[in-house]
Each structure stands twice: as structure tokens, then as C-alpha cells.
């Protein structure tokens, strides 16, 4: 029950993009077309889930027992960078079709602060293993939801007459603001 609440709140109430402001770069950069946004979202969800598992193990099996918490930032970023590489190599071998779909987005994920943010937030909140994994999947799906919604709005925006200085990032951020406002309505739904 507690896990379900955490899962739903990670998607809707404390959405990674619209509440924690993590992963803004891909959120603005890869949200011009719905299908590429969806691929990016799924790639992020995938990497986030694995990162959640691995970073929890590193934190609880190595860093905390040996009191090495000052190595947290360095080890998390190195793990994420190498994980992305491994995932990329694995997908290329295992499923060329999936690689075609996700391929170009994977390297971009290394510098996506949502992944690092996930590892750090889970460590900061002192989540148990199951909670960390739930949080990882939920946050990834929350990111996917936000970026796909954004892309579908932007596809419509292309057809309308936006004032020139607002074109691109300006209007995208304002739309994100209105989305954040709408998501605010989900607050308090978790009992």
C-alpha cells in the first residue's frame, strides 16, 4: 500500500520534471515530436530503474558500511556513466530494433540530471530497497508522461502563430508552467 502511494506520487504529485525540476534539458530538447519523446521517456525509465537498483547497492553495501559517504557523488556519476554505456552495448547486441528506437537518446542520458537526481534523492530520503526501485520506475514513468504531454502540446503549437521572441524555449517553458499548475491539482490525493 505504501509502495503504491509512493509509485503514484512519483508519477503525478511529485513529478520529476514539474515538481523537482529534474531532466529539463531533454524535456525541452526532445519534446518536438511525440514518438521521439516517447522513446526518450522509455529510455530514461529503463536507465532510471537500473540506476535505482545499482546505486542502492553501492550506497548500502559499500559507502555506508565503510563510512565512505563523501564518495557518493563521484561513485554515483561514474556508475551512471558506465551503466549507460553498458546498457547501450547490451541493447545493440540483444535487440537491434530497440536500439534503433532508443539508440541516439542513450548517450544523452548520462548528463541528464534526472538520473543523478534519482540516485541522490533515494539516498537522501533513506529509502529501503523496494521503495527505491518503486521510486525509480514511478519517476521514470512520470518523466515519460510529462515529456509526451509536452510533445503533443508542441505539435499543436507548431500550427499556431506564436510571437517571434517566444518561439522555442520561451513558449515551451510557459506551457510547462501551465502543466505544472495542472499537476498541482494532484496534490493531496495520496491518503
Amino acid at each position: 500500500m505504501e509502495l503504491l502511494a509512493l509509485f503514484i506520487s512519483a508519477i503525478l504529485v511529485n513529478n520529476f520534471v514539474l515538481y523537482y525540476f529534474l531532466g529539463i534539458c531533454p524535456f525541452l530538447g526532445v519534446s518536438k515530436k511525440i514518438d521521439s519523446a516517447l522513446s526518450m521517456g522509455l529510455a530514461v525509465t529503463f536507465v532510471m530503474t537500473i540506476t535505482a537498483v545499482v546505486s542502492w547497492m553501492i550506497n548500502h553495501w559499500i559507502l555506508i558500511p565503510y563510512k565512505l559517504d563523501y564518495l557518493q557523488i563521484v561513485s554515483f556519476i561514474l556508475v551512471i556513466a558506465s551503466l549507460v554505456q553498458l546498457v547501450e552495448m547490451f541493447i545493440r547486441k540483444a535487440s537491434p530494433a530497440l536500439y534503433q528506437a532508443l539508440g541516439i537518446y542513450l548517450p544523452l542520458i548520462t548528463t541528464n540530471c534526472a538520473i543523478m537526481g534519482l540516485a541522490l534523492l533515494a539516498a537522501l530520503k533513506n529509502f529501503s530497497f523496494l521503495k527505491t526501485v518503486t521510486f525509480g520506475i514511478g519517476s521514470g514513468l512520470g518523466f515519460t508522461l510529462a515529456i509526451v504531454l509536452m510533445a503533443s502540446i508542441r505539435e499543436q503549437l507548431d500550427l499556431s502563430d506564436v510571437p517571434k521572441p517566444l518561439k522555442g524555449a520561451g513558449i515551451a517553458l510557459i506551457v510547462a508552467g501551465i502543466m505544472a499548475l495542472a499537476f498541482q491539482g494532484f496534490s493531496g490525493m495520496i491518503k
Binding site: 525540476f21 534539458c25 548528463t111 543523478m116 510571437p163 508552467g177 501551465i178 498541482q184
Partner: protein, 203 residues
């Protein structure tokens, strides 16, 4: 491309290549910590510290690093100084470190820093890299200051905690909410573009 003077190297970070308004880099911290001016300043200074030191270090050892492992080395160097900043704040400015939460460690994935190493410090002298990093930092701090200033004044009627609006003023709560961050930054970026277009068309 003609070599820039040192002054130009510094000034470009303030406007022409302002990391937030013009290059759209480092938006996550820009949005997340600008609900109060004090948080914006602390974040700006911590990022500047990491950016300036990393740039100097990278510029001084650039010849020793083979290009295949340069990104990995930069990341380790950046992560080291981020940890130093994070621990320093937690030890001596506990309240600020608490209110910034995970956003200080997240400086490590701030694209401004890795971006400057890759685009500038790895190709230029130590001195120039220092000036470049200083300029970018000033630009970043200014951007955070403008954004957090607008949000704190309109959202709470205060600036750095001091009341600046009269009693008649009813705070716009939306400015403190995430939505306010997105909308204000969107408008500011549009204004920056507008100014740029106007000055370009005149010259």
C-alpha cells in the same frame, strides 16, 4: 576568428553567451532553487566555485589527458570539487545546505560546467580559461539573481527576507510554486531574445 581581448572573454558570459538566457544551459538548478534570493545566491556561488576551479585544473593538465578519456577525467575532477562544495556547505552553512537539498550534488550534472571544459578550457590557456569561467559564473549568478529576485518579490513581497512591498500587496503564491518558475523563466528568455533582436537590427 580574431582573438578576443581578456575583457571580451569575460564580458561574453554576461550577455552574448549568458549560460541561462542565451545558451539555455543549467536550467534545472535555475528553476529549482530560485524561490528565494538567498538560495539563488548560494547556488550561484557554489556553481561558480566548481566551474572556476575545474576550468583552471582542466586547462593546466589538458596536454596530459588523452582525448579518449578526457570526458571521464573531467567528470571525476568536477565531481571532486562538487563534493568539496557540498561538504563545506553542510559543515558551515547547515541551513542553506538543507534548503538546497540534492541540488548542490546535482551541480555535477550541470551542463554549464562540463560544457565549458569541453568547449573552452580543453583548448585554451589557464589564464583565459579562468577569465572565461569567471565570466560564465557571473552570468549564471546574475541570471539566478534576476529570477529569484522577481519570484521572491512577487511571491512573498520580500527581498532577501526584508519586506519591500507595502501592506497593500497580496503575494502571488503562484510565483513560489513550480509553475511560477517555468513561466517567469519563459518570459525572461523571450525578453532576452527580444532585446537581442532589437540591438542587432539597429547596428
Amino acid at each position: 576568428m580574431a582573438a578576443k581581448s581578456i575583457a571580451q572573454e569575460y564580458l561574453k558570459g554576461l550577455w552574448d553567451e549568458n549560460p541561462v538566457f542565451r545558451q539555455l544551459l543549467g536550467l534545472c538548478p535555475t528553476l529549482a532553487v530560485t524561490n528565494a534570493v538567498i538560495n539563488g545566491i548560494a547556488m550561484g556561488l557554489a556553481t561558480s566555485f566548481v566551474l572556476i576551479i575545474s576550468s583552471v585544473v582542466v586547462a593546466s593538465i589538458k596536454k596530459l589527458i588523452p582525448s579518449q578519456v578526457r570526458i571521464a577525467s573531467y567528470i571525476v575532477i568536477i565531481a571532486t570539487f562538487v563534493t568539496v562544495a557540498d561538504r563545506f556547505l553542510a559543515a558551515y552553512f547547515f541551513q542553506i545546505s538543507k534548503s538546497l537539498g540534492p541540488y548542490i550534488p546535482l551541480i555535477v550534472v550541470n551542463c554549464i560546467i562540463l560544457g565549458r571544459q569541453e568547449a573552452f578550457s580543453s583548448k585554451n590557456s589557464v589564464g583565459r580559461s579562468f577569465v572565461d569561467a569567471l565570466g560564465m559564473s557571473t552570468g549564471f549568478v546574475l541570471a539566478l539573481l534576476v529570477l529569484s529576485g522577481i519570484r521572491e518579490i512577487l511571491g512573498m513581497g520580500t527581498f532577501l527576507g526584508y519586506q519591500v512591498m507595502g501592506a497593500w500587496f497580496k503575494p502571488w503564491i503562484i510565483m513560489i510554486l513550480p509553475a511560477g518558475a517555468f513561466i517567469t523563466l519563459g518570459i525572461l528568455i523571450a525578453v532576452a531574445l527580444l532585446i537581442e533582436q532589437k540591438t542587432k537590427s539597429r547596428s
